[in-house]
């Protein structure tokens, strides 16, 4: 096969159409009127050469790239990728395109990726951060680039955050358990250093504080199946309700509890948090608090778009969660 020729540029098109490069540029950006026949000639020349404007050159020249950067801790985790997907749904109706990077859970990489993204000329950034928000990371470095942080809430002006109301969701979940007659509770928490971890644990404690006849225990681990499994082995006495930091922990707990011969919810109720796709398929289907990562992404994208339009309001947005009562908790 013959070596392919180099990509056609604006000068090739101009030459072939017998016009100046300015004219070519004008028809592609329709930035001012161009006579009918010249338009035709340019279009013809361009398509015969397979010409597409070079986005790199455009970015350099214009100072913006029509790209929104995304940085997430783990692209494989559907929670994070759903945020990106939600944003995509909004961006699809615009001429922005998204580029996403994953730090793969590596905090070291996060800073570098942020730099790279920024110096790649992104027009906006939506990110969920691994580490706690570090003002240096985006305030100093991302000069002028609008940023929205997802799944975290930082009180800092000139910054927007969108997150679920983890506190409210967990509180209502525990209150439901209380209303259905549960008296002894164990919290199998995940990652207490994260925003969501903190909020959920605090809500659990607050909901139960001072309730007569209620016994409470807290164990902390990670947001994984394995961690749920292991934490279950740490239980001294099986409580009436095992309240888990998220669905994965709940799956681990359920798995281990069943192995040990307990019936769910006959002997013990188990709850999760998130409502991942699998929660409806588990046995028994999981009672949980649903948060909507797609919506979080949509809201984040809209927020970025507004900021890009100039009329962007900073501040934080808390999204409601929805209680999903399934069969992993007993009714009464």
């Amino acid at each position: 096969m013959i070596e392919l020729s180099r990509r056609a540029g604006i000068v090739d098109v101009a030459k072939k159409a017998g016009v100046s490069i300015a004219t070519v540029s004008r028809v592609f950006n329709n930035t001012s009127y161009v006579s009918e026949d010249l338009v035709e000639k340019v279009i013809a020349a361009a398509s015969s050469l397979g010409y597409k404007p070079n986005r790199v050159a455009q970015s350099l020249r214009k100072g913006r790239s029509r790209t929104i950067g995304f940085l997430v801790p783990d692209i494989v985790n559907p929670f994070f990728s759903s945020i990106v997907e939600g944003a995509n749904r909004i961006l699809y109706d615009t001429d922005y395109v998204s580029v996403v990077c994953s730090s793969s859970g590596d905090a070291e990489r996060e800073g570098g990726l942020l730099e790279t993204l920024y110096s790649s000329g992104i027009d906006g950034l939506v990110t969920v951060l691994l580490k706690e928000y570090d003002r240096h990371i985006d305030y100093v470095r991302l000069r002028g680039v609008p940023v929205v942080i997802v799944d975290d809430v930082v009180e800092e002006k000139k910054l927007s955050c969108v997150a679920s109301d983890n506190y409210d969701g967990m509180k209502r979940l525990v209150e439901f358990l209380l209303n259905t007659g549960h008296k002894t509770f164990t919290f199998l928490g995940g990652s207490p250093e994260t925003y969501s971890g903190k909020q959920r644990m605090r809500a659990f404690l607050d909901a139960l504080k001072g309730k007569p006849g209620v016994r409470t225990e807290v164990i902390s681990g990670e947001y994984t199946f394995e961690s749920g499994f292991r934490m279950t082995d740490l239980l001294r006495k099986i409580p009436q309700a095992v309240v888990c930091g998220n669905d994965l922990i709940a799956f681990g707990a359920i798995y281990r509890l069943k192995e040990k011969g307990f019936d769910i919810p006959g002997d013990v109720s188990v709850t999760g948090f998130d409502d991942v796709v699998f929660s409806k398929m588990s046995d028994p289907p999981l009672t949980t608090a649903r948060q909507d990562p797609y919506l979080m992404g949509e809201v984040a994208a809209k927020s970025i778009l507004e900021k890009l339009d100039g009329n962007g309001s900073d501040g934080n947005i808390l999204l409601h969660t929805e209680l999903v009562i399934r069969r992993s908790t007993r009714g009464r």
Copy 2:
């Protein structure tokens, strides 16, 4: 808060350090020797200004960007995102960075994204395509940009593909079922228009063809839980083995079968394909054929890197699958 000044450029650094921009460029690319004291001055000036080279300008000038583009049909599907993550693990040790796009299952968008990616100056592309491979899409358009296609096999020179050996995996799965005494089989297939769908169905049929006393039935749907659920309702008579196109279908089938009062694997064995994370947590844990999307990504990345180094071999790579026997199939 005071409006942040514009980003520092190479001239700012040169000015502040009292050197020429060429010298600044040299220390940042260490492309030739620069005297100690000038290096120091440049470093000092650069860091005090927070200077980082503008990747857009670099790309335009050098004609390469040190980025690898990824295009996947659905970023939320862990199978696809794991491919990206696997590739990242390889790329992490290089100075390449990956940018990923998702077509969100929209074939229309796929072509546009490909264009965008290409004109954004990516140095290489790894993609799993929604539609069947269209030679126009990357051969004509991605002139000179190395491409590797994942989860599909196309016989086309100057192209590399990496995929699992779906045929072999499914065949061994069915043979295992045969060896454990199953006689009646139903295949609950997914997306027969995809490469994997075709291979798996063909393997199922081939494995059973001409076996004495074996009865076979094929139903086709999609690679989803809901589809598995619905296809199960289409079963006229419950077979001894329900062989599913992937794990999700199997989960749907198991769910529905249990609802109908069947015991798994007492009354009916069920198998999947993929071994998604959830397969070990399901009840019962799922017998399946494991494919390793991380590995696929690693292999794809290595292949791209080789092509970029000049010594790239084209051709296809088939990865082995591993039978994972769990408790959704009866032993004998």
